[in-house]
Symmetry: C2
Subunit: 119 residues, 2 copies
Amino acid sequence: MLNKSESLDLTFQALADSTRRSILARLSRGPISVSELARPLSMSLPAVMQHLTVLEDSGLVRSVKVGRVRTCRIEPKALSSAERWINQRRSEWHRHFDRLGEYLEMLNKDPGESHGNDD
Amino acid sequence: MLNKSESLDLTFQALADSTRRSILARLSRGPISVSELARPLSMSLPAVMQHLTVLEDSGLVRSVKVGRVRTCRIEPKALSSAERWINQRRSEWHRHFDRLGEYLEMLNKDPGESHGNDD
C-alpha cells in the first residue's frame, strides 16, 4: 500500500507524458477498449500497453477484461488528489498575497492612527 | 521555447517528487533564500540546488541573486497550467456522466412517450 506522497509521485509521473495525457483525455470522455484507444496513437500496441501500465499503477486508470476485450476507464479519485495538492498551493499563495496586501496597507496608513501617536 | 505539451511534461515531472513538492509548499507561503529553504531538508545544499534547477527549468520557480543571497519564489502560472489541464479532464468526465444520466433517463421513459407511439 502506497502512502499519500508516494501515490502523488506516481500520479504526477504518469501525467508527465503527452501520450499518457492524450489517453486520459480520451478516457475522460468515457470508457473504451484498448484497441479503440490505440487506434489514433502512432505507436505499437505493446507501447500503448506500457503507457496503460504506468497509468494503472498510478491509479489514474482502471481496466477490466471481458472475453477478449479489455476496457479502460479513468479513475477520477487519483486525478482529484493531484488537483487538490495544486489547489492547496494556490490557496496558500493567495493567502500570502492577502497578508502582504494587509501589511502594505498598514504601512500606508496614517502613522498617527497605526501607532496610536496622539501628538 | 517549449510548446504547451512539453511545458506540461516538465511541470508534472517536477511535481513528481516529494522533496520538490515540499519546496513548492514552502515557497507558496512566500519567497525565501536558498539557504533558508535548504535548512529543514535532510540533504546537502548541492542536492537541494539540483531540485531547484528542475523546478526552475519547469517554470514553477524563479530565483534572483542579490549579492551573495539567492531568493526563490513560486511562479503560479506554471502551476495554473497543470491545474487547468486536470480540471478540463474532470469537466469532460462530468459531462460524460451527465450524458449517460440523460441516456438512462430516456431509456426509463414510457416507450409510448419517447418513440411517439400513438396507440
